[in-house]
């Protein structure tokens, strides 16, 4: 990568991170949402620890998917509203790189934080402790994929008035493989087997998504900006 593009990426990520860190609510609210929804499941399924342990990987992953959808709608919103997105689209640097910087900073503050906090939720749902490292790794990789697919949906709906539900509608079918591989990895680990196959597939989705999703997001952004 020529040094100029690397500098651009780093500067954009720093800008997004410092803007987001000024509003700690944006980081904590999704975590609290996660905590509350995880609490709803035992209330719905019953307190039997065996049942909860059985469903724990699925519950944690589905809630992670839903919370990533709720935060994805904010992905390009701020930059779209104050005109920065238009300037980025007109800049000589690839718009895909700007989109990637947005996704990376968003992932660092939502996905990685979630992965680090996940042992708490695993303990609440009585997940076997041997599965917890796999849970954290799969969530870290998986939330990257979810942020990438969320970015595609967000890019297509950023200019729309009621884009929130539409975003979920568009993004959920694309996230099905991530959910399947993520839960697969955690279930394998919970049973004591080796989850590396599933994690490798998650990694492949993340790698492919990191290359292709910013391009799709950039195309979506140009359409939303009518450029």
């Amino acid at each position: 990568m020529p040094p100029e593009l690397g500098l651009f990426l780093r500067f954009q990520v720093q800008r997004h991170l410092s803007a987001a860190l000024r509003r700690p609510g944006d980081i904590f609210n999704p975590l609290v949402f996660f905590l509350m929804v995880v609490t709803l499941f035992p209330l719905g399924l019953g307190p039997d620890p065996e049942v909860l342990a059985d469903f724990a990987p699925g519950i944690v992953w589905v809630v992670a998917l839903l919370s990533s959808l709720t935060v994805s709608s904010r992905l390009f919103q701020a930059d779209y509203e104050d005109g920065t997105l238009e300037q980025l689209a007109l800049a000589p640097h690839p718009l895909a790189l700007a989109a990637m910087s947005e996704v990376l900073s968003h992932w660092l503050l939502s996905g990685v934080v979630l992965a680090l906090a996940s042992p708490v939720f695993a303990a609440m749902l009585n997940m076997p402790t041997q599965a917890i490292p796999t849970l954290m790794l799969s969530l870290a990789l998986g939330t990257l994929c979810l942020s990438l697919t969320g970015a595609i949906g967000a890019a297509l709906t950023v200019g729309l008035r009621r884009g929130g539900v539409l975003l979920s509608l568009l993004t959920i079918p694309l996230t099905v493989p991530v959910l399947i591989f993520g839960v697969g990895a955690v279930r394998e680990a919970a049973l004591g087997y080796d989850p590396s196959g599933w994690l490798a597939l998650l990694g492949a989705l993340a790698a492919g998504g990191l290359v292709l999703a910013p391009l799709a997001a950039a195309a979506g952004l140009r359409i939303s900006l009518e450029l």
Binding site: L170, I180, G220
Partner: protein, 243 residues
């Protein structure tokens, strides 16, 4: 041949082409559907294991095949419109979406109707059924995205991008659901295996598949013609056509 392709990008030429095609397709489709249905429902032999309830295959399989193919037609039309900026390709993509969604729905419902006597359940989370359900969601997503935009030109571009993203995802989704299903095999449901199908059952099925492809073409052309009638209702060429 390229002249023909270029001509199809022009609304007056396409309108005349569509009118001629519909005039030929309509009787063909009706005849083929009638022949295939009668052959399959009345004259094909009953199945060894399923008796007569397997006959819904003559609607279920063709609609599923064409629904899957239709998604690729929509995605390719979107690609053509994005790359070569041909507006008729936009119209084609928008015309395919509801037809494809309807066919997917028919496939799912006929599958459920077939499943009740065969497996004892209206719905099973089988790999193919789940993938078809996600295909329905993808179609509905494209339709919803088009409705959400006020600027219809931008809407068409957005739908093209979404269909292309979905195209990349369909093989991944199918394979992942396949692995998911094979690892979570439910013990009680016995999935009737794909036995080699006899010629007396195969030929009506092939006829019905062909009939459904022709039906798909007919419905898409009708949709496109309706779209042209609405968009170009003020133009001189259309008024002279309708006179």
């Amino acid at each position: 041949m390229w002249t023909f392709v270029h001509k199809m990008g022009s609304p007056p030429w396409f309108y005349r082409f569509a009118t001629i095609m519909i005039r030929w397709l309509l009787p063909t489709v009706l005849l083929a559907l009638l022949a295939g249905s009668v052959w399959g429902l009345l004259y094909a032999p009953p199945d060894f294991r399923q008796g007569n309830s397997y006959r819904i295959i003559y609607i279920h399989v063709p609609s599923a095949v064409v629904a899957l193919a239709g998604y690729y037609v929509m995605a390719i039309a979107g690609l053509v419109s994005l790359v070569w900026k041909i507006k008729m390709a936009d119209t084609a993509m928008r015309a395919v979406a509801p037809v494809g969604a309807a066919l997917t729905f028919v496939a799912l419902v006929t599958g459920a109707i077939w499943g009740k006597p065969t497996w004892g359940a209206w719905w099973v989370w089988d790999a193919r059924i789940t993938s078809m359900l996600i295909l329905l969601f993808l179609y509905l997503g494209v339709m919803a995205l088009f409705e959400a935009y006020d600027d219809k030109a931008a809407a068409a571009k957005a739908c093209a991008v979404l269909s292309l993203v979905g195209t990349v995802n369909i093989p991944i989704i199918y394979k992942s659901v396949d692995w998911w299903y094979s690892l979570h095999q439910p013990a009680s449901i016995k999935f009737t295996g794909e036995s080699a199908i006899d010629a007396t059952m195969l030929y009506p099925l092939l006829l019905m598949i062909g009939a459904f492809y022709a039906l798909f073409a007919l419905l898409v052309l009708l949709n496109m013609k309706a779209e042209l009638l609405q968009t170009h209702r003020q133009s001189a060429w259309l008024r002279s056509e309708l006179r």
